[in-house]
Symmetry: none
């Protein structure tokens, strides 16, 4: 399923980087540390990536690509918009809960310093974003969501909300179950807090 044309070492390096970045953060991760983790020589990294930063962006592209694949597999057009949204939240929470390294990197590094890098990563998020917008649009059409829902804004609100929940869970030291938050999260999205 994954773009499997790349050589093994490419992926080995990305996996090494995922681990090292998660443990230390991008800036405190040395390339040589990643190389060791990947079981290759330092120089080998530069056969596959132009510069250190490229490792990070490639990592996001690959991993977010995999996430979109999961969404595609788990959500079908036959589902109602509400049900689809719940699945999105379920997959979002469970994937990150089951892949803590990825969670660290996306939550912490995705928010990394330079805006330039951030914009590039934003590109990788686009398909995810389109996915949510798609569901919202679908809900508006079939009447299950308010007709005056601002799709773009609500997509941000939903994404940001889930995002913060994951980050908070991480910072807390993952003391509770993330997937157990799905119900209340979706409830809030659907019903709001008004009594």
């Amino acid at each position: 399923m994954t773009s499997s044309k790349k050589p093994d070492k490419y992926y080995a390096i990305l996996e090494g980087a995922l681990k090292v970045f998660a443990e230390n953060g991008y800036h405190k991760s040395q390339v040589s540390r990643i190389a060791k983790e990947a079981g290759v020589a330092d120089g080998t990294i530069y056969l596959y990536f132009k510069k250190k930063e490229d490792i990070l962006t490639s990592l996001f592209q690959e991993k977010l690509g995999e996430l979109v694949v999961k969404f595609n597999e788990g959500i079908h057009e036959q589902m109602t918009a509400k049900e689809s949204l719940r699945r999105v939240c379920e997959i979002h929470y469970s994937e990150l809960e089951n892949n803590v390294h990825l969670a660290y990197v996306t939550q912490i590094e995705l928010r990394q310093s330079d805006l330039g890098l951030r914009k590039e990563i934003g590109q990788a998020l686009k398909r995810y974003i389109a996915f949510i917008e798609n569901i919202l649009e679908r809900g508006k059409q079939d009447g299950s969501f308010h007709p005056d829902t601002d799709v773009k804004l609500v997509r941000l609100l939903i994404f940001g909300a889930m995002d913060e929940v994951v980050t908070s869970w991480l910072i807390s030291g993952r003391k509770y179950s993330l997937t157990e938050q799905v119900g209340k999260t979706i409830n809030f999205f659907l019903k709001g807090i008004e009594a």
Copy 2:
């Protein structure tokens, strides 16, 4: 109002740092650059801050402190919970819209790599967080919010949602008005998207 006992240079350095961090991000900002911006010698910085990181955390503490002051000034117990929530969102959006440097730093750098730093910054956010939780609690008591609202979770959802809206606005290049998003944002929080 703010802990105004600190000497002028302390604030001059923080203001310099705010500007420099906003322009380059924390990691790409040199201490000497901040010193120049603040009009002091490099070494002087170390009379007021133990290390570079301290500048960042102090900056958050000061700035978030100022934000809480604004909340305190703009929100009163007599207001309904709903109205209070709207004011929180208004202040949050307008303060950041009017202080772009601060917006950059909070949105981008608040998400700093190392978790250690992040936790420390989290402390500075606590009073803000308590503020929102307080409102939610108040709403539950007076019946305007669902009695089964999970205060802690919803506070995260709300905070994360607003946060993402601000970040998106920044990344977009601030092409639209942030404060104009208040209405729809609050509507979503209160009513959800269910028709």
Copy 3:
């Protein structure tokens, strides 16, 4: 004429190196760049040369060897010493004028940093040097040159003088004809500047 027993690739590599060295200088020329220019794999180079430095020294040996062949072809014992000297200068200037890559490499790289390398290259120059000394000696014998001419010193003076003219012509961007300088050069050698 040339030691023509070497396989084609040997010469292909030398020609590639000549071009690459001329363009970038020895130190800034990568072996892989030479390989590409020669149309062989990086590793192949090491089948013909022990190390990068060997490419440079072999290049000099081959090219200076070719130059000596030209001298042998163009200068005959029947010529007077003066005429022979003029031919040396003619060949020296015209060969380098017609082979700019070679000119760059000899003028610039012949003056390579490490003395060790330089000495080795000096070996390759020996036959050229002997050629000039031979002419000077001949001139002394037949009375056309001062009997107290210090052959070794004058050979250096002549060689250095021509060398500097070529280098200067190169550095100037080859804006004028080098061969047109032959007359005045030889005049100076023969008559000096004294009125």
Copy 4:
């Protein structure tokens, strides 16, 4: 006499560099080695020079500047052109004979790889060159040199000739006296080799 406004460390670094470059050649000289030789920290070098290359070019500028000062001190307008030329050669040979490090660096490194660097260094030579041209011009005026002497070409021939003598003396291991070559060198310049 030297541009004495630069701080001591600037000169200390240049002296260190002179020694290290002479011993190893530019490319094989590490910045840290120069720093140690100069008695400063590695980083200090970068307070005075932008990059490693700048050390080399500055070195030439300073040293050639000093040489020109010596010329100015040793040669006066009252001297005949011939006498002046002899003094140039004397100073050239004796200065380099007495400053072997400088000799190595000028003879070997002056001829360094990239043409760009070489051109820059050429600038530093300009005053020296002008000096020789000046003498030749003077000789033409007062009739002691041929009226049809091509000043620019002859200047190159003279400079190149002396240069080669020095280089050869260096490569030979300085087995003989350089200054003793002055007489024959000047003789050749003035009278040529024609009997």
